[in-house]
């Protein structure tokens, strides 16, 4: 199968493309007369702001969604895709922004699902399955724990699994929707290397990203989409980061202007914090950390070195073994998140889909949740729906959420716009401390600038921020102090100025700065 497709692909001039594809959601036109052509054996990047229509287009190209107009081009000829299965027969596979993995199953089971190597009477040939998996991993130059349940696997492992599964199933066109959004820097580097390998094997890759750096780094062609329309489409070497940025956002992105941080009194202070989990594994040890009003402290580190655990400890989502946490001089160790929020804590979750937002609920509900008991929203015990709606709309406008109607479920928003909704909620009111985890994950440069500006304004207004991010660039731009975690302990702390990518990188790897 792969063979023949590769041949066809060889002959074809357009491996996968679109002609006049249009898709509407009620009033909103997500895709508007989209044209583009991905040449066989190339990496074709699709860039665009949040809500530009990238995911929608990709869903259509993979047969998950049907266009209202226009047609899909496969190997130079127009086709209509009844569903993902048919797309697959044509060698087209996709990795969604939301992973399509069955969390309760193991990595290996997910890999072979629906293409199981079976011996007689439908019994799974586990040996063959494992071999297939290991070969793929080897060819891709990665290592995976095949017997781990997906729900226990780190996010980059899931990402890689999704890609390997496409290969396993014989796809030679890979559609990747923001694959790097959830990855740490060196994981991104690994992934880009992997993608280039695949390209050199003759596979065609549609690559979506907001990170123009990596886009420029690996793509052969680039198509820019804005508000559902194609702005330009052509070879990568004929454009530049800056030019792309302009085309994506329509206007020049204001460079973030960090103002002097005036340190106020301590808002968050953690002393001797340690955590041993239910299985007796040491997660955190001897952590001392403090954040003062008017400063941004960044928590850097390779994911899995204790960031999540520390955040959960500070928010009170999980209890700790030793040490204490104080918010504005109140000892909150052992307090519930509800109580901590009452003391001025705000928490932007890294897990947008399950914790940061309630996808089934309306956009308004998501903006208002947690603030709904404010006096201004309650009249004699009843919610004042008008006031709530008005407030929500105001917040959404302030954070520039591109929406159809605030009454729609938040799941109808594009990835980046969803993130903005979460931020709008958390920066609402005036929290004393904001725990911001991956605040710009999946957000376009325009949005990133906007979000960064919000964080800085918040800081300059005397807010305290604990920034947890895997974007070193982001950390460098925003942080007044940078604390690096390694193996659940503080490896070192650098002030703005004395910190550079190299020194941080060394600390992240457990070396000395």
């Amino acid at each position: 199968m792969t063979q023949s497709l590769a041949l066809k692909a060889g002959e074809a001039r357009v491996r996968l493309g679109a002609r006049g594809i249009t898709r509407r959601f009620g009033a909103l036109t997500a895709n508007d007369q989209i044209d583009f052509s991905a040449r066989p054996g190339t990496i074709h990047a699709i860039v665009g702001g949040n809500g530009a229509g990238k995911s929608t287009l990709m869903r259509i190209l993979q047969g998950m969604d049907q266009p209202d107009e226009g047609s899909i081009i496969v190997n130079d000829s127009a086709v209509t895709l009844s569903g993902p299965a048919e797309a697959f027969r044509l060698g087209i596979g996709m990795v969604h922004q939301e992973f399509m993995l069955v969390n309760q199953l193991t990595m290996l089971e997910n890999l072979i699902l629906a293409r199981e190597p079976v011996s007689s009477l439908g019994v799974i040939d586990r040996a063959a399955a494992l071999k297939a998996g290991q070969d793929l991993a080897e060819r891709a130059g990665v290592t995976l724990n095949w017997h781990q349940r997906v729900q226990d696997a780190p996010v980059h492992a899931r990402q890689i699994l999704e890609i390997l599964r496409l290969l396993y199933r014989g796809a030679d066109v890979l559609i990747l929707d923001e694959p790097t959004a959830v990855l740490a820097p060196q994981q991104i580097r690994d992934l880009l290397v992997l993608l280039q390998r695949l390209r050199d094997d003759g596979r065609t890759i549609l690559f979506i990203s907001h990170k123009l750096g990596e886009v420029m780094a690996i793509s052969d062609d680039i198509t820019v989409i804005r508000t559902g329309r194609v702005i330009t489409s052509g070879p990568a070497d004929e454009t530049s980061k800056a030019q792309l940025a302009v085309q994506m956002t329509g206007e020049m992105v204001r460079a973030v202007t960090p103002r002097r941080a005036r340190e106020g009194d301590t808002v968050l202070s953690i002393t001797g914090l340690g955590l041993t989990d239910g299985r007796g594994i040491r997660r955190l040890s001897g952590i001392d950390l403090s954040v003062a009003a008017g400063e941004i402290v960044a928590l850097a580190g390779i994911s899995g070195n204790g960031q999540d655990e520390l955040v959960e400890a500070i928010t009170g989502l999980s209890s700790i073994s030793e040490g204490n946490v104080a918010l504005r001089y109140h000892d909150v160790t052992g307090m519930s998140l509800h109580q901590r929020r009452a003391l001025g804590l705000a928490y932007l979750s890294p897990d947008r889909a399950h914790e940061g937002l309630c996808l089934e609920a309306s956009i308004t509900d998501n903006v208002i949740a947690g603030h709904h008991r404010r006096a201004e929203f309650l009249a004699s015990g009843l919610l004042r729906l008008k006031a709530i709606r008005a407030h929500a709309e105001a917040q959404l406008d302030r954070f520039g959420v591109r929406r159809d109607s605030a009454a729609l479920p938040v799941s109808s928003l594009s990835g980046g716009n969803q993130q903005r909704v979460a931020i709008a909620r958390e920066l609402d009111g005036s929290p004393a401390l904001l725990i911001a985890c991956q605040p710009t994950r999946g957000v376009d440069i325009h949005g990133i600038a906007a979000i960064h500006q919000c964080l800085l304004e918040y800081r300059d207004a005397g807010g305290a921020v604990l920034l947890v991010s895997e974007e070193l660039e982001e950390i460098m731009t925003l942080a007044d102090r940078i604390t690096v975690l390694f193996n659940g302990a503080v490896r070192g702390t650098l002030r703005r100025g004395e910190a550079d990518v190299e020194s941080i990188g060394r600390l992240m790897l457990g070396e000395d700065a």
């Binding site: 309760q104 699902l113 629906a114 239910g278 989502l317």
Partner: protein
């Protein structure tokens, strides 16, 4: 005494176990089968009818299972294709079934409530010569009919099926991640329907066990809500065949025990709650230990 207790416990367990295993497979595929009782009821009725005029217990079982599967199929289609709420549909089927059963008895056999037919072929009981008189072991292994053996055989079989076979894997995937399964080109709805067919088949056998295995007659109350006890059993087992079997055994054992505890001073109504109380207690203990293991994450 002990032997009788064990023997009776296994007898009371069998119908629950059969139906529970069916419900387990069904739930693994993503449907909570509230209609098991209705499938049991019709299994019991058709089994008796066939066993009486045809005389082959094997055929009787086949027909009982088939009838259950047929009802299951209908129910499944309403749920998967018409996107109907599985709980209501299940309750609805149970209500229709009781009505229909009485209706059939009246219109076809002119009897009300109980159907008693001449020379019904009963399920063969397997006595194991040597073992039969060994104290405890005999009660456990000997003197049970084919369905009891089948039911217990199905426990490891189900476990093996779920982990080791292609169908099992796809079934689990369908239940746990329908979107993912569909995106891989599987047909979740069809897979679900298949699992409901199986559940119906097993429930039908459970019914047959009651009618031609135990009492040898059919009565409109013969299932006595055992379909719902089965539901509790596979919820109890959280979709693990072995734990589910344990759940079913709990009911069977304490049911047999309460019968024998009667007339020893305790008020019978309270003694009868023993199985239910025990299930709650054990469920609580399991949940508690699970919580301790998973640590404090709220």
């Amino acid at each position: 005494m002990l032997d009788n207790l064990i023997h009776a416990a296994l007898i009371m367990t069998t119908p629950i176990l059969l139906a529970a295993l069916g419900g387990l497979i069904n739930r693994t595929g993503g449907i909570v089968n509230i209609g098991l009782d209705s499938m049991m009821l019709f299994g019991a009725m058709t089994a008796l009818i066939v066993a009486a005029d045809n005389g082959s217990w094997l055929l009787a079982l086949a027909v009982a299972g088939g009838t259950g599967a047929f009802i299951g199929g209908l129910m499944s289609l309403v749920i998967t294709r018409l996107k109907a709420n599985e709980i209501i549909v299940g309750l609805g089927f149970s209500i229709v079934a009781t009505g229909l059963a009485r209706f059939i008895l009246k219109s076809t056999y002119g009897v009300s409530g109980t159907l008693r037919l001449p020379d019904v072929t009963r399920l063969p009981v397997i006595d194991i010569p040597g073992v039969a008189d060994v104290p405890v072991l005999g009660a456990m292994l000997s003197g049970h009919n084919v369905l009891t053996w089948f039911a217990w055989g199905m426990v490891p079989a189900a476990a093996w099926f779920l982990v080791r076979t292609r169908a099992g894997l796809r079934l689990r995937a369908t239940g746990a991640g329908e979107k993912a399964a569909r995106s891989l080109g599987l047909r979740p709805l069809a897979i679900r329907d298949a699992s409901t067919l199986f559940a119906g088949f097993m429930a039908g056998l459970a019914g047959a066990y009651l009618s031609i295995g135990l009492v040898g007659i059919f009565n409109e109350g013969i299932t006595a809500g055992r379909g719902f006890i089965a539901l509790a059993a596979f919820y109890f087992g959280r979709n693990h065949p072995v734990m589910t079997a344990l759940g079913a055994l709990l009911f069977g054992f304490f049911d047999a025990l309460q019968i024998r505890l009667q007339g020893r001073g305790f008020p019978p109504e309270l003694v009868q709650t023993l199985p239910y109380v025990m299930v709650i207690v054990i469920l609580a203990m399991l949940a508690w230990s699970a919580k301790k293991r998973n640590g404090a994450r709220t």
